[in-house]
């Protein structure tokens, strides 16, 4: 039976040990096993303290969907992507790619997806871009004639045709990323995973990448795309739906517009002051405003002379504004203009991920959608 979802996870949990070799070398990129005692302790790895990178992820991504994973650093985005790529084994729960279990059927999973992980380049620096792609085409088992045609068309697509015979070490960061993309597209897999694909790219290259994903890979070829990104505009531009991860949990999952306008029960109230000299600490004003019922947060705006020139206040959508105005006027500030607007996706993201966990119930829904 044809699976309903391209990617599905149910109660996915991943814990990492925090002791033994991880403590020796200062984290990623350093093994840190610096004595035989440590080697043996690594071999016998004690069951001890763990950090939970993922804490029960429920996710369904439909076929042909462009799905964004957003979250602050350490939220668990890369862990989730690597589990789906079969590079990390999860501890609890289930994960499926096109109906294949990532733990039990990794070979089938890999046939159905390709990933672009910026840290996992795997290109030989002494070979040319073309030779590197030919090597991977052989590993993928693509026939020589077909491989040549595909490599040529992909190099053309990403604009590397002219530099195909240059050594990889001569490529700029942007060109290296483009070659990564070519490699990911060598096999015609129905699902593509991208981990922060535009980090380090100039704005034009990033824009070209977004067009490629949206127009060619998604609309034209109907591929399912999972993309993790810090770039909220990027997510808004290309994703059909996004999930916001924070501390290993999905805390919001919906379309970008719904997250921006609906799921977040707040709007932004901007006030500018005129000819006002506010001598007290702006933080005091922030504190006063944040004590007002219906105010979720306030940010002072300081002009180039260091004076308080305005305030941005995040408020409940149905709030009576007179309480805020009263606080401002009592402090001798003169109001120049008042404006309310819907929060941007970035403001929604900051508000959602920065919100205290003891304030539940202010999102439309979480987890599965």
């Amino acid at each position: 039976m044809e699976p309903k979802y391209a990617v599905e996870t149910i109660g996915l949990v991943k814990r990492y040990p925090t002791r033994a070799r991880n403590t020796g070398g200062g984290g990623r990129g350093h093994g840190g096993v610096d004595s035989f005692g440590n080697i043996f302790s690594v071999m016998r790895r004690r069951r001890g303290s763990f950090i939970e990178a993922l804490r029960g992820i429920d996710l369904q991504i439909k076929k042909g969907e462009v799905f964004g994973l957003l979250g602050p650093n350490g939220a668990g985005k890369t862990t989730l992507i690597k589990i789906l790529c079969t590079l990390i084994i999860h501890d609890e729960g289930e994960a499926y790619v096109h109906g294949f279990d990532v733990k039990k059927e990794p070979a089938e999973v890999i046939k159905n997806l390709q990933a672009v992980l910026p840290e996992s380049r795997g290109f030989n620096w002494r070979l040319t871009g073309q030779q590197n792609l030919e090597f991977y085409a052989l590993l993928y088992g693509i026939r020589e004639q077909e491989a040549q045609e595909r490599i040529n068309s992909l190099l053309e697509l990403v604009g590397l045709r002219e530099r195909a015979n240059d050594g990889y070490q001569r490529y700029s960061t942007g060109m290296q990323r483009k070659l990564l993309l070519c490699r990911a597209l060598l096999r015609d897999t129905p699902t593509l995973l991208f981990d922060e694909p535009t980090t380090g790219l100039d704005p034009l290259s990033a824009s070209e990448f977004r067009s490629l994903v949206r127009d060619k890979l998604s609309r034209e070829e109907g591929k399912t795309i999972l993309i993790s990104t810090h770039n909220l505009n990027e997510a808004q531009e290309i994703c059909d739906r996004i999930a916001i991860l924070d501390k290993g949990k999905i805390i919001a999952c919906d379309t970008p517009n719904n997250i921006q306008y609906t799921m977040l029960d707040e709007k932004v109230f901007s006030i500018t002051f005129t000819n006002t000299l506010f001598n007290a600490d702006p933080e005091e004003m922030v504190n006063l405003l944040e004590k007002t019922a219906g105010v979720y947060g306030a940010t002072p705006e300081i002009d180039k002379d260091g004076n308080l020139s305005g305030m941005s206040v995040r408020i409940s959508k149905g709030m009576d504004l007179s309480g805020i105005l009263s606080v401002i006027m009592k402090n001798g500030l003169k109001i120049g203009s008042i404006n309310t607007r819907e929060p941007s996706l970035e403001e929604a993201f900051i508000a959602i991920t920065g919100r205290k966990k003891e304030e539940p119930g202010r999102f439309g829904h979480t987890g599965r959608s």
Binding site: P17, N22, G25, G29, G31, L87, I110, S120, G122, F123
Partner: protein, 271 residues
């Protein structure tokens, strides 16, 4: 008196490197052990110089030594070849291609082995033409000896790779292979000579080391014109094959264990 700035800067570099060296405790300890083993092995070899190697191969010393050095040139590159490919960028990407781990390991060894075999020939040519080494080669036996050696070395490479995927920076397997080879595998003296230098029976240790069999089988083929039709020679080759038969599956299991463990711990991309 104030030291010149250039001298102070050189001292700064030296101090930095010394402190850095002391933080690599395994390297520090293994370097010290290597010195001791080196002194012992070369001492034993030196005391053996110019004696006829009648005990095992009915040969002269220079022939024995040339063959030993040529064979040692075959061994370490194979075990080390795979390690050069073991970095996070390569390993994660290669695993994403869906190829099997044995293919990954063998694929990374083949060129190194071909190169080792090619460089093996000049060793022998120079040894015979310049230093008067006298080889008595049996070609079919040499081919079989190389095949068994390759299987033994492949098993060791698999074990070494599996362990290194878990331990990352330090590979105790390769180090142990190196150390034991120097003293016990008989590169520069017949292993039976250890009995007269240390105490009777100590050479027994050598026969439990797979690399001793690599040297032994290759020397039988290169120095004694040994035929596999000779039951005594065949018996030696069967004993050597046992190591290959054991090491290959054990190596595969160790490699599987290393990869699975690294995936569970999320450290496959680490080095």
């Amino acid at each position: 008196m104030e030291l010149p700035l250039a001298l102070k800067q050189i001292i700064a570099f030296t101090k930095r490197d010394f402190f850095s060296w002391t933080t690599y405790k395994t390297t520090m300890i293994t370097q010290l052990i290597n010195i001791l083993i080196g002194v012992f092995s070369w001492g034993v070899a030196a005391s053996y110089v110019q004696r006829p190697v009648t005990e095992m191969y009915d040969s002269d010393y220079i022939t024995f030594l040339v063959a030993g050095i040529a064979i040692s040139n075959l061994i370490m590159p194979i075990v080390q070849g795979i390690q050069r490919q073991l970095n996070p960028w390569t390993l994660e990407t290669i695993m994403m291609t869906g190829i099997s781990m044995p293919v990954f390991v063998i694929g990374n060894i083949v060129w190194t082995y071909i190169l080792s075999v090619l460089t093996f020939i000049p060793y022998l040519l120079i040894g015979t033409s310049v230093f008067g080494a006298k080889l008595d080669v049996n070609i079919p036996t040499t081919i079989v000896a190389f095949a068994i050696s390759a299987a033994i070395l492949m098993g060791l490479a698999l074990i070494s790779t599996g362990v290194r995927i878990v331990t990352k920076s330090t590979d105790p397997v390769t180090w142990t292979i190196n150390v034991l080879q120097n003293l016990f595998a008989g590169i520069s003296f017949p292993v039976v000579y250890l009995d007269t230098i240390f105490f009777p029976g100590v050479s027994t240790i050598s026969w439990f080391l797979p690399q001793t069999w690599v040297y032994h089988l290759c020397r039988l083929a290169l120095l004694t014109n040994a035929s596999l039709l000779d039951p005594k020679v065949l018996s030696e080759f069967i004993k050597g094959s046992v190591f290959a038969v054991i090491l290959l599956p054990v190596g595969y299991k160790v490699l599987q264990w290393g990869v699975a463990r690294s995936k569970r711990e999320g450290t496959l991309g680490w080095y």
